[in-house]
Assembly symmetry: D5
Amino acid sequence: MPQTLATFPNPHPTRDYHIEHQAQEFTSLCPMTGQPDFATIMIRYVPGPTCIELKSLKLYLQSFRSKGIFYEDVTNEILNDLVAACSPKWMVVESRWSVRGGIQSVITAEHGDRKQ
Amino acid sequence: MPQTLATFPNPHPTRDYHIEHQAQEFTSLCPMTGQPDFATIMIRYVPGPTCIELKSLKLYLQSFRSKGIFYEDVTNEILNDLVAACSPKWMVVESRWSVRGGIQSVITAEHGDRKQ
Amino acid sequence: MPQTLATFPNPHPTRDYHIEHQAQEFTSLCPMTGQPDFATIMIRYVPGPTCIELKSLKLYLQSFRSKGIFYEDVTNEILNDLVAACSPKWMVVESRWSVRGGIQSVITAEHGDRKQ
Amino acid sequence: MPQTLATFPNPHPTRDYHIEHQAQEFTSLCPMTGQPDFATIMIRYVPGPTCIELKSLKLYLQSFRSKGIFYEDVTNEILNDLVAACSPKWMVVESRWSVRGGIQSVITAEHGDRKQ
Amino acid sequence: MPQTLATFPNPHPTRDYHIEHQAQEFTSLCPMTGQPDFATIMIRYVPGPTCIELKSLKLYLQSFRSKGIFYEDVTNEILNDLVAACSPKWMVVESRWSVRGGIQSVITAEHGDRKQ
Amino acid sequence: MPQTLATFPNPHPTRDYHIEHQAQEFTSLCPMTGQPDFATIMIRYVPGPTCIELKSLKLYLQSFRSKGIFYEDVTNEILNDLVAACSPKWMVVESRWSVRGGIQSVITAEHGDRKQ
Amino acid sequence: MPQTLATFPNPHPTRDYHIEHQAQEFTSLCPMTGQPDFATIMIRYVPGPTCIELKSLKLYLQSFRSKGIFYEDVTNEILNDLVAACSPKWMVVESRWSVRGGIQSVITAEHGDRKQ
Amino acid sequence: MPQTLATFPNPHPTRDYHIEHQAQEFTSLCPMTGQPDFATIMIRYVPGPTCIELKSLKLYLQSFRSKGIFYEDVTNEILNDLVAACSPKWMVVESRWSVRGGIQSVITAEHGDRKQ
Amino acid sequence: MPQTLATFPNPHPTRDYHIEHQAQEFTSLCPMTGQPDFATIMIRYVPGPTCIELKSLKLYLQSFRSKGIFYEDVTNEILNDLVAACSPKWMVVESRWSVRGGIQSVITAEHGDRKQ
Amino acid sequence: MPQTLATFPNPHPTRDYHIEHQAQEFTSLCPMTGQPDFATIMIRYVPGPTCIELKSLKLYLQSFRSKGIFYEDVTNEILNDLVAACSPKWMVVESRWSVRGGIQSVITAEHGDRKQ
């Protein structure tokens, strides 16, 4: 993880509530061709002891800009990194990619049992 | 709670029904930078003995205008204040924030078990 | 009920099916200020022995035009009047109101257990 | 049924799958006033031994053009005729009518238990 | 299957996640009239041991361009070919066709129990 | 003209103003195949001595329901009939037809010089 | 004019600028049938010596609620009343009416020469 | 021109009016890669002595299905063929292509001076 | 002007080009009631010797947050301040306000002759 | 210009026609903060002796990915480079940027007199 994900203590730990962040400006590189890929990344979770700090999330997502990585790996790697950083009770990460060859792809990975 | 939330007796207390208010003109301040934040606040509940009076809700939401407060706290604090004011059978509060750093955030907190 | 709600026998009483009417031109008066309110009224039901006749429904909804009445009462009163008129197996009434003070309100009341 | 509904053998009878047809150009006559009514007819089903042939469905729906018939009867009659013609495992028919007197109506009738 | 579907090993086999591909440029021929048909093909699955390689999927879908085939067969054949190629834990294929004779058709076929 | 177009005196003859009527429920028959055609008819004009009465316009447009007539003729014939009925200072008629064979057609005919 | 239209001095009289008000909650009565009509009223003007005060405009438009009046007269009467009240350099009034008998109508009347 | 474009005499030759056809199902091949291209073709013209017959237009556009041809040539060739076939007073052809490499292209070619 | 508007030299002074900034988070106070108003502010101009610096524009617009000011004055005052700060060849400012009393208002003021 | 822009001879040089390319995946860096910026770049031109080759345009636009450059410079530089490469009769370049600090910006630069 080239960029540290900062967290802060969950200010309302006794209630299960949802936090969603939608980042529309994600870009990485195709590991086969080196061509840029573009996606919207949606993160939704029920916080455990800590929450993801928003500015460090922005910088973390920017760290993929020059990285060659597949769609499936982007999605699972972001989920793994965020789970490791904040130990959520439940989390889902969805990546929605620009059209390539007339095909639009969406990858969705989930951690824990869905609450609500 | 700087602004009192007025209520009126639930005119149909024998039936469980839903009341939803969507306020598109919410604004508060970021406690770190002092910069204004903007959100749409959605409140949905099954009334108990009393209902929230609409004009006092408007003034209550306006009372955040000069307050430095985080997204998570806005959402949970509004939920806590409204629950304390009207003892609903069920209530959800959702805040949907303007884009910051290319990221749009949504926080959702719930009180009681969802009916229907 | 200033306007009689006409009904006709359910032509297909052996099958549970849904009928939905959406009336976009509802208007009543605020009982506090006398100012006009505007709403869309959605009625959905599984008919019992009779169905609501459409023209009499239109005239019934128009009868609120000069009436001072709150949002919650409009919704529950329409539900009560329609249930009394046609004894449905299930019915829901939803009123969706124009923006007032930057807030849009929706009231939803239900009679009987939802089928399907 | 003035127009015969043709069918063809279900080419994949061992799998339960869904077929949906949406016809946006349905028109019939009001039996009270003789005035034309317009609707979108949505048919969705899990085929049994046979499927509805598309061209005969188009002609069948056109056969209502000069027929005086109520909304509820259109919906249930189409459902009955299609069920009789192809014996589906499950079928739903929905008719969505043009605005009349400021009110838009939708009628939905179902045959069998919903699969999915 | 005139075109081989390439696969690659599932990079995250210990987690059940979803992959969706939406191809908006599908075209085949009507087997009755020889006229071209157009559709959007949506494929969504939980990968098993392997994932479908995107470029070979594009070429596979292009292989229908000069083929006379019915809507129901396109949908079930794509599902069968993809299941045979990658042994997914669950898969759904949906084809959404252009309007013909004022009617729009959608066919949906599923393999395995939906994980959600 | 099988249906008489009624008019009423222009109540504001000293000012040039625009009247637009958009009829979304127009249907006629194809003179070649007998199949029904569907269109939205838009009429916009600057009234001269008289205005078109709305109910008679509705009945006039309905008179095409069983008539075999081409797109170009519908548009020009409506324009000719309306011009003959009310002598407008300027008038445009536009017909926007449902998709046939994957092609959507729009025909637009104008009478007089466009004001503004 | 049953309701006085208040004005205030144009605060920037040396510059020609545009003011637009769009009122989505207009309702009057059909003088033939007594049935309610609904419209959106759009007013756009270049102010002369005075501007229309917003609250008095709202009350003025509400004064049509129990008035039987035709579409063309509503539009021209509002234009005449507003021109008399504030002597604008240019003004246009547009009324956009709800669907009646499958037809939507729009009436547009203008005073003075359009600036820009 | 592999497919003959049929025409019929302009039924209203004394009036200049517009005919527009929008074909959403155009496909050809890239002459470099052999890969399929997809476009919407819009044709708008003021007819001269003859009009383009709609079914022959459909077949003419389908004749590009197996042809390798560039965007610019498709647009100009269709314009040239249609002008040769029907001698319009004015004609414009616009092709709007699917996204390729993250770029969407539109080519527009015109014959004669625009009327109105 | 409580907040200084910073500028930077026009990097392409020999070409007339357009710069547009759309600020969706503008808020001020009603000078009559003290209630908050909300607007989108659109600024479009052809730069002269200097351009408006974006961050100082954001802070400048925020300086209206606690200011009691009418719609017309907001629009003209922003135009005056920006013209004074950067001497554009042409500039337009448009303010689009939230609904108040069922009426949405838009104020548009322009400086200089529109290019292009 | 780090990336050469390839061209090909205009295949229809005797007719003035329009070519438009819309690139939705443009990204560069802010020269002040180093943060990534995102834009849609629209290019529209009337070709002179040559046309811009599409793949080289894609690579040319990608060459800005690691470049620190202001909005105004991106727009004018792309226009200058494209004009130098293909000598169009007329060209416009528009860049539409993602929201920054609640403000969305659009820059538009033009070369030559607009042919329409």
